[in-house]
Every structure is written in C-alpha cells, then in structure tokens.
C-alpha cells in the first residue's frame, strides 16, 4: 500500500467518524435538553403547589411531597387533595394538547394545524355550551358530567367528520386544514346563536368555560386524562420513524415503506381523542397545541424520538408555568388559564421564533 492510499484512507475514516461524532453529540445534547425540561417541569410543579390562598415555601412543598408525615395535616391536605389534582391536570392537559398539535402538524404537513385550528376545540365548546345554556345532554349522563361529556362527544364528532371527508377521493392535506378552519367558523356561529338565545347567567357560564380553567380538575378526571395520554404515547412512539418520514412528503415516505394514508388516519383518531379529553375537562386552551410543538421543534428538531417527548414536556411546562402566573398576577384571584397562556405565551413564542436563526418550519 502506498503512502498516498494510506493517507486517503485515514482521511476517509476521519470524515466518517466526524459525521457519526456529530450525530452522537446531537443525540447527547437532545437528551440533556429533555432532562432539563423534566427538571424545569418538576420545579414549576412545586411552585404551582406552593401558591394559593395559603402560601407555602418550596421546602414545605417538597417535604409534603416526599415525607408527608413531616408537615402539618392542613398543609398535607391542601397540597395533596386540593392543589395536586389541579397542578397535575395542568401537566397532563398541556402534554396532551401539545402532542395532539405536534402530530397534527406532522401528518398534515402544516404549521398551523392544532386541535384549535382543526375545529376540535370549537366543537367541544359548542357541546359544552349546549349543556351549559339549555341543559341538553348529547349522551345521557349524571348532571355533573353533562358538560365534559357533551364537549367530548362534539370534539370526536368534529374529528370524525374531518376524517370522513378526508377519505374522499382527491382530498389533500390542504383540504383537511381548510375543512378544519370551516368547522371553527361554523361552531363559532352556532356558539353565537346559543349565546343570543340563552339567559344572561348561561352566557357567562359559557364564556367562562371557553376561557379554559383548571380549577374544576379532580383526581378522577386527572386519572382519565392521564390514562389516555399514557396509552397514546407508546402507540405514537411505535410509529416514530414513520412519522418523521411523513415530514419529507408522502412520496418520500412511501418510498421508505410508509403508508401515509393509513398512518394519517390512525394518528388523527389517536390525537383527536387526546385533544377531546383535554378540552372536555378544562375548556378551550388554544395556544398550547400550536406553540408547544413549535418550541419543541426549535429545541429538538423533528426526529420523533426527541420531538414526541419534547412536545409533551414543552406543552406540560407551558401550562404549568401558565398556572403559576395565573395565580400571582392578582394575588387571591386565579385568572382563567386560557387567557394567561395566550397573553404571556405568545410574546415568548414570537421572541423564540424571531430570534431563532434557522428556519423552524
């Protein structure tokens, strides 16, 4: 072997290891970002638990969490029974909406897709308003569950209507997004109609519901929302590589052995369920499903191994921080979370998008 060939071979090996080294560093960086998000989430959860009419220090909250016997009974009850379901609901709802938005954006190849823009939230609001204003129960249920069940039924109805239309020949992903926007307008008009005919009290109940609020969270609602999230995540993760491939376009995904239509349908059903449960329990929180995934995309890219958990964590974190802010703006008053997430979150989001040097879509 001549010196020249040896040198060339060394150069080749160097270049090869360089590509792989970059990949490994990228994976490590992303694992660190995910870990940091988990830490931030825990920190935010503790603050959320500490805030309220009775204020506790972070130390007391951590003590109540890990050694409940070491704190007063009152602190234990307030942290575990009153605040915990609300604080955890924020995490689960945030994660559900964000994952739903992330996968809608992925399968529809559209940065504007989210439970909100596809009409799923608007459908839910309409269902809830029917219950709140006229006492209509779409499915017979105990009176306390009429509103969330109505919301859920209408959200799923909207999702299935969109699915059914999307199966028609010649319907493209752009058409699906247009259909979603059309749904939003239809349901908004119907909402306006309900408010026109409903009593003053009913109108304020409807308006309050559409603002989105975590205060109605209870342990059973939390467990339902958590189990749906816990079931969906592995099902979505199973399609991780295929979903990443979807972002390269249908033709490319097909060439890699993915069946775009089948995958799109399965994922759309799954994320509609996620979004419907979340919206049914806490009302309309529009911002998370749109922005959670965009922040995750900026931080972690679109490899679903990182993007999927990243979207869940970003969504959970945004809503948890929103919950904290909603308690501290006016001490003693909890401002509806839907208002806070949009008002505080959108400037933050715009800052992120505009200061990010690379294209994030």
């Amino acid at each position: 072997m001549t010196t020249d060939t040896r040198m060339t071979e060394t150069a080749v090996t160097d270049r090869l290891s360089q590509g792989r080294a970059f990949y490994h560093s990228q994976v490590f960086r992303r694992q660190m970002i995910l870990a940091a998000l988990v830490l931030a989430l825990f920190f935010s959860l503790c603050i959320d638990l500490a805030l309220g009419p009775a204020r506790y220090s972070l130390g007391e909250v951590v003590a109540a969490l890990f050694t409940p016997d070491s704190v007063s009974q009152q602190a234990r009850i307030i942290v575990w029974e009153i605040r915990m379901p609300v604080a955890l609901m924020a995490l689960v709802v945030g994660a559900s909406l964000s994952v739903a938005g992330a996968q809608m954006q992925t399968i529809l190849s559209n940065p504007l897709a989210s439970p909100f823009t596809l009409g799923i939230s608007a459908g839910a609001s309409f269902g809830a308003a029917l219950g709140l204003a006229f006492g209509v129960a779409l499915v017979p249920a105990a009176i306390e569950f009429v509103v969330p069940i109505n919301a859920f039924v209408m959200a799923m109805f909207t999702a299935f209507l969109i699915h059914a239309l999307s199966l028609k020949r010649g319907v493209t992903v752009e058409t699906i997004v247009l259909l979603g926007i059309a749904m939003v307008f239809i349901f908004n008009s119907l909402m306006a109609l309900i408010q026109f005919f409903a009593s003053q009290e009913a109108v304020s109940a409807v308006v309050f519901w559409t603002m989105g609020s975590l205060t109605k969270a209870t342990w059973p609602k939390f467990w339902i929302a958590l189990s749906i999230l816990a079931l969906s995540m592995p099902l979505l993760a199973r399609h991780g590589w295929a979903l990443t491939a979807m972002r390269l376009g249908d033709a490319k995904a097909e060439s890699m052995g993915v069946n775009p239509r089948a995958l799109r349908l399965e994922v759309l059903v799954l994320v509609s369920l996620l979004a419907a449960i979340a919206v049914a329990f806490v009302g309309t929180i529009g911002f998370i499903g749109l922005v959670g995934p965009h922040i995750a995309r900026i931080l972690l890219g679109e490899d679903q191994r990182f993007f999927l958990p990243g979207s869940a964590l970003c969504g959970a974190l945004i809503l948890s921080v929103g919950s904290v802010i909603s308690k501290i703006i006016i001490p003693g008053t909890i401002i509806p979370i839907g208002i806070i997430t949009s008002l505080v979150g959108i400037p933050f989001f715009l800052f992120l998008v505009l200061s990010h040097k690379k294209a994030s879509w």
Partner: protein, 249 residues
C-alpha cells in the same frame, strides 16, 4: 442472485390506463437498466407499480432474494423542508420498520451511503438548506442506506451538474458490478444511458415500445418515432457509441 421480471403489468389512475401490459425479460442483479421515454410516458408509474404502491393487473415477479423489502426507491425530488439534518434524514430511511433503537450497524450504513455518494461533508447540514442537486444526492443516499437488492431511481440526475451526473452514474455502475445490485434508473439523457446501462426499456404513453440491450433500443428510427428528433449514433475515437441529435422534427 436477485431477478425482476414484469409479466403483462398494467395500472390505471381511476379509469385512465397509465400502463398497458408491460412484459419484460428477466433482469438480473449486476445489471443497470435504463428506463427511457418522453415526459408522462409512465416511467414513475412503472416504479410505483413495481413497489406495490399502485395496484393493477399482471405480475411483478421478484425472486432470488430472502429480504422482506428487497426494493429501494428514490422518487423524483420533492423538496421537503423538515427540521432534520442530512445525517438524520438518511438514518431515518435506514430505520423504517426496524424499531426505535439505533444500532452501530445502522450508523455504519449511513456513513457508508454518504461516503458512497461523496456527501459525507453534508451530514451536519439541515435538509431545508440544500441545493436541488444536493437534495437529489441525499435522496439517493436514503434509497441506498436500506441496502436494497433492487434499486430504482427516478431521474436521479435531473438537478445535478455534469460532474455529479457522471459521478452518480459511475457509483450506480459500481454498485451493480460489485454488490450485484439490479439497478433501474429513469434517465432523460440518452447519452448517459448508452454509456452506463446494460439494457434499456423505452416507454411511450404507458406502453413498452422497445426493450433489450441499450444499443438495440436507442436507434435513430426509435428516436424519430418516440422523441421526434432526427439523430445518429456513431462510435467515438474510443469506440463508445455517441448520440448526436441533429434537429427536432
């Protein structure tokens, strides 16, 4: 050795027939087969039919392989803008159907595909920032990384400069010779076909007009009929056949 044969293969979009009873001889691993024909002749459709993405009458017979997915396919450039690096996008082609965990072997195959196409230096770049030609090479790497036994490429050279065109076709020729891959490549440049392909298929309006050794398919008479050009084919000083196009008619 892997073989591919089409037996009265048809396909339609709705009611419109787009491929009509295509029957070919048995192509074998180690061959480069050029798929020729004017625009909308059915070249891409034929690829999709072989892959099973389109259903239709007739049989696509692939034998001599134990692989579950022996066919790799590079579609025409679609210009996607996902937030992925080149390395990731090639890895993800490799990982389809393989579970979430990336093995060392998978990374080795990614390195190998990038190296094969001389685009190792692009590994860290975002795919959205690439030029059309670079995207095409990445696309070829995505097909190659799946270690197919039959590799189908749909106009892989359409956005490449002359140097890259020759380099890519040389790589394809080598893959056929060294790895005994069967390569089907749709080409518009008939000169490239004459130089690199063992056999050629000429399609027109969804029908197979001619099929056989390249020099027997690319003839002045057929070029006049299919492409409506007057042309001659003459050996160069090294004896290789050269296509000289005189005029469109």
């Amino acid at each position: 050795m892997v073989t591919l044969q089409l037996n009265r293969v048809s396909a339609r979009y709705g009611r419109r027939p787009v491929l009509e009873e295509i029957t070919t001889p048995c192509f074998q691993g180690g061959q480069v087969v050029a798929l020729l024909g004017p625009n909308a002749a059915g070249k891409s459709t034929l690829f999709r039919r072989v892959l099973g993405l389109l259903k239709g009458e007739g049989k696509v017979i692939i034998s001599g392989t134990s692989a579950e997915h022996p066919v790799g396919y590079m579609p025409q450039d679609t210009g996607a803008k996902a937030v992925l690096t080149v390395y990731e996008s090639v890895l993800l082609a490799r990982m389809q159907g393989r579970g979430l965990k990336v093995q060392a072997e998978d990374l080795t195959q990614v390195d190998r595909a990038l190296e094969e196409l001389s685009i190792t230096t692009l590994g860290e770049r975002d795919i959205g920032d690439l030029s059309g030609g670079q995207r095409q090479l990445v696309s070829a790497a995505q097909a190659l990384v799946q270690e197919p036994e039959i590799l189908m490429l749909d106009e892989p050279t359409s956005a490449l400069d002359l140097n890259r065109q020759i380099s890519l076709l040389t790589v394809l020729r080598r893959l056929a010779d060294e790895r005994q891959m069967l390569i089907l490549v749709a080409l518009h440049d008939l000169g490239h076909a004459l130089r690199f392909a063992d056999a050629a298929m000429m399609l027109e309006n969804g029908r197979l007009i001619a099929c056989g050794p390249t020099a027997e398919v690319i003839t002045p008479a057929l070029l006049r009929q299919v492409y409506r050009v007057s042309a001659r084919i003459e050996p160069c000083s090294k004896g290789q056949p050269q296509l000289i196009v005189e005029a469109a008619i």
